[in-house]
């Protein structure tokens, strides 16, 4: 019979040790973690970026990824968006009774694999077991080092910036929703660590004013917040927004708008317009960046507003996502 998680795995006793030894320690093995101390002691740096995130996605596995890959991507991408180089990650697992051990094994394996890809070390972890029906949640913390010469923040957005997205919109959202609804299609989540894209931008000497990863709320929500913070107008061009035909059809079917759908492996970067072409080329040369393009510009026509120049030449005002959107997408 399929081995499942039970309350005894959260006891802190032998069953917990067995679980940690057979799954976590094996997959996450490193000189820091192998010491199995109460906390990890690691090397430091001048400017440190820190973030935390919780992952409750349902279903746990979906086309193109699972909660393990997702939690690494989500955490390192948050660090990267401030120009940091991700270094360390901690993870807290909250397992529900009844979770298949093989499922946990799978998730932890893809987490370890993604951490290796993203170049981060998992240095500490914790496991708890609660009542429930076989799901799992993961909470992470991430630490990155910020090179002295980098200053990436919303305050630097200014008139004359170009808006660049690193690829197609809405894939993760559509993959999750499609799976939940049992709609058969070829859409896969784009969950990916964006380190190579970010480092390519800096290697090309692009003066990146700000970057955000396009997650819940979608591109419109992210850019509306930036327009407000920087008191500028961001004008997007509908025709330039990259969306795959599959996601476009999916959205048409369900009345969804890719502008408000989440990704887990896409960023939007605002850079001086004269550097925009070079920035697009840099992103396209990096892993996960081949569909990058310029989608709009910053002006001062209506401070704080996000506008969309529509395909037929109208102007549409965009607000942040109202209401719930899709719950438990990450």
């Amino acid at each position: 019979m399929e081995e499942r998680i039970s309350m005894v795995h959260g006891s802190g006793g032998a069953a917990t040790s067995e679980l940690i030894g057979s799954i976590f320690a094996k997959e996450f093995a490193s000189t820091t973690l192998d010491k199995m101390e109460d906390s990890a002691v690691v090397e430091g740096a001048g400017k440190i970026a820190m973030t935390t995130d919780s992952f409750v996605v349902t279903p746990v596995s979906y086309p193109g990824g699972d909660i393990g890959r997702l939690c690494i991507c989500g955490t390192v991408n948050d660090l990267l968006m401030r120009g940091a180089k991700p270094k360390y990650i901690t993870c807290g697992f909250i397992l529900q009774e009844g979770l298949e051990v093989s499922k946990l094994q799978e998730v932890v394996h893809s987490m370890a694999e993604c951490a290796r890809e993203a170049g981060v070390e998992i240095v500490a972890g914790d496991t708890k077991v609660v009542n429930g029906n076989g799901e799992l949640y993961i909470n992470t913390a991430g630490v990155g080092f910020v090179p002295e010469d980098r200053e990436v923040s919303a305050e630097r957005v200014c008139v004359g910036d170009a808006v660049i997205v690193s690829g197609n919109l809405g894939d993760h959202h559509a993959a999750i929703l499609g799976t939940r609804m049992g709609i058969v299609n070829e859409i896969e989540s784009d969950n990916a660590p964006l380190g190579e894209i970010v480092e390519s931008l800096f290697a090309a000497n692009i003066d990146v004013h700000t970057m955000r990863d396009i997650t819940r709320g979608g591109l419109a929500t992210v850019l509306k917040e930036l327009a407000k913070t920087s008191n500028t107008t961001i004008e997007l061009e509908e025709e330039k927004l990259p969306v795959t035909p599959q996601v476009k059809d999916f959205c048409g079917l369900l009345g969804l708008d890719p502008l408000y759908m989440g990704n887990e492996g896409k960023l939007v970067a605002l850079v001086p317009v004269e550097e925009a072409e070079a920035a697009v080329a840099a992103i396209r040369g990096a892993k996960y960046g081949q569909d990058a393009c310029i989608v709009g510009f910053v002006n001062d026509k209506a401070p704080g507003k996000l506008h969309l120049r529509t395909r037929i030449g109208g102007l549409r005002n965009l607000e942040i996502l109202q209401g719930e959107g899709l719950p438990r997408i990450c």
Binding site: L177, M181, L254, G255, D257, K305, L308, R309, T310, R311, I312, G313, G314, L315, R316, N317, L318, E319, Q322, G323, E324
Partner: protein, 366 residues
């Protein structure tokens, strides 16, 4: 009356020509009502209002299903959600529509059970998993959605499913357009609903066009399709003015010929007639409009979860002007609550809830 089967073909204007025509129209003021909520949303999404001359006014009509549903229906859904072993199943919008005291999403936190689905057919999986619970689908909508509920019912009957019911608030278009023509604001042209017409056929609008001497343009939902239909209406209006005879304004133009035929989808119409019959319906702001609703036929009454006589419409906020707005007598911005207490996250009336609602649409524009 001129009846044009496929206007788009012989009267093709380029996008630039249409934009130019609509931006520079300088004739008498013309008010065009889009009756369908999907058109309201598409007009806003494409930024069409800002592309029109000041002489062309677009007015949203009563075509957003949740907007025209009186509070008594929402209250009944809430009552069902709070009933032991009962669960309401609905599309997302309905969860947040205010009843006289609460919305479904508010009573979810008070022990009420309501589940959001994207397809009505999802109810079968729910019903199978929990045979002891009765699942009630909030079946509201226009001619477009009614065939889906008919299909749902057909499956319920074929599979002998005991724990699925419908709470209906189904409406039909022609009667309410007639009501508006008799009682509403002055409208010089109708952007006719493409999805409804796909089911009913564009002939549905012929008697109205003739009786009230108004042009109707059946339109799709892409920006360019809407511009085409608007151009068609303005031109028909101009032609009417020019000819100046008693009958020269009446036109039904089909700008959506790929999807809409004159007679519509006969199979869908048959299916609807099998399970539903016409009835009087209560509309927010308009009260009971004879013959504008659909209800289950008496032989299927056991699948009904108490849909009759849900006519009360007690506004949660007395100052809400949804009723006036739905009839095109008032613009959303003129409501004292608009953008102040009434916003998409704190809707005081149904028109601010749905993406298809005129207030939500106006809030998202500028």
């Amino acid at each position: 009356m001129s009846y044009v089967e496929n206007v788009a073909e012989y009267n093709k204007m380029s996008l630039a020509e249409m934009r130019d025509f609509l931006a520079n129209y300088d004739g008498p003021e013309i008010h065009i009502m889009e009756v369908c909520g999907s058109h309201t949303a598409a007009i806003s999404k494409n930024g069409i209002r800002g592309m029109l001359s000041e002489k062309i006014h677009l007015i949203s009509g009563p075509g957003c299903p949740v907007c025209v549903t009186p509070t008594a229906y929402v209250d009944r859904l809430i009552e069902l959600a709070m009933t032991p072993n009962t669960c309401v199943v609905t599309f997302g919008d309905m969860l947040r529509v205010p009843g006289s005291k609460y919305s479904l999403s508010e009573v979810q936190g008070m022990g009420g059970r309501a589940i959001m689905v994207y397809s009505p057919m999802d109810i079968f999986a729910l019903a199978e998993k929990e045979p002891e619970t009765t699942f009630v689908f909030a079946a509201l909508g226009f001619e477009t959605t009614t065939p889906v509920y008919a299909l749902l019912l057909e499956e319920v009957i074929e599979r002998n499913i005991e724990n699925v019911k419908l709470l209906t608030a189904l409406k039909t278009m022609p009667g309410v357009i007639e009501y508006l023509c008799e009682n509403g604001a002055s409208i010089e042209g109708y952007l006719a609903p493409g999805h409804v017409a796909a089911v009913t056929g564009s002939d549905l609008f012929k008697p109205l066009a003739e009786k009230y001497q108004i042009p109707f343009a059946v339109s799709g939902f892409e920006g360019e399709e809407i511009l085409e239909a608007l151009c068609g209406i303005v031109k028909a209006y101009q032609k009417g003015l020019c000819e100046g005879t008693q009958t020269s304004f009446a036109q039904v133009m089909n700008f959506y010929p790929a999807v809409v035929s004159a007679e519509g989808n006969l199979r869908a119409q048959e299916l609807v007639t099998k399970y539903f019959q016409a009835t009087d319906a209560a509309w927010r702001g308009m009260g009971i409009v004879p013959g504008t609703g659909m209800e289950l036929r008496p032989e299927y009454e056991k699948y009904d979860a108490g849909s009759k006589a849900l006519v009360e419409d007690n506004k949660r906020n007395k100052a809400c002007c949804c009723d006036q707005i739905l009839m095109g007598k008032m613009q959303p911005q003129q409501c004292p609550l608009f953008g102040k207490v009434c916003k998409p996250l704190t809707p005081q009336g149904a028109c601010m809830v749905s993406e298809e609602g005129s207030c939500h649409s106006a809030f998202a524009s500028f």
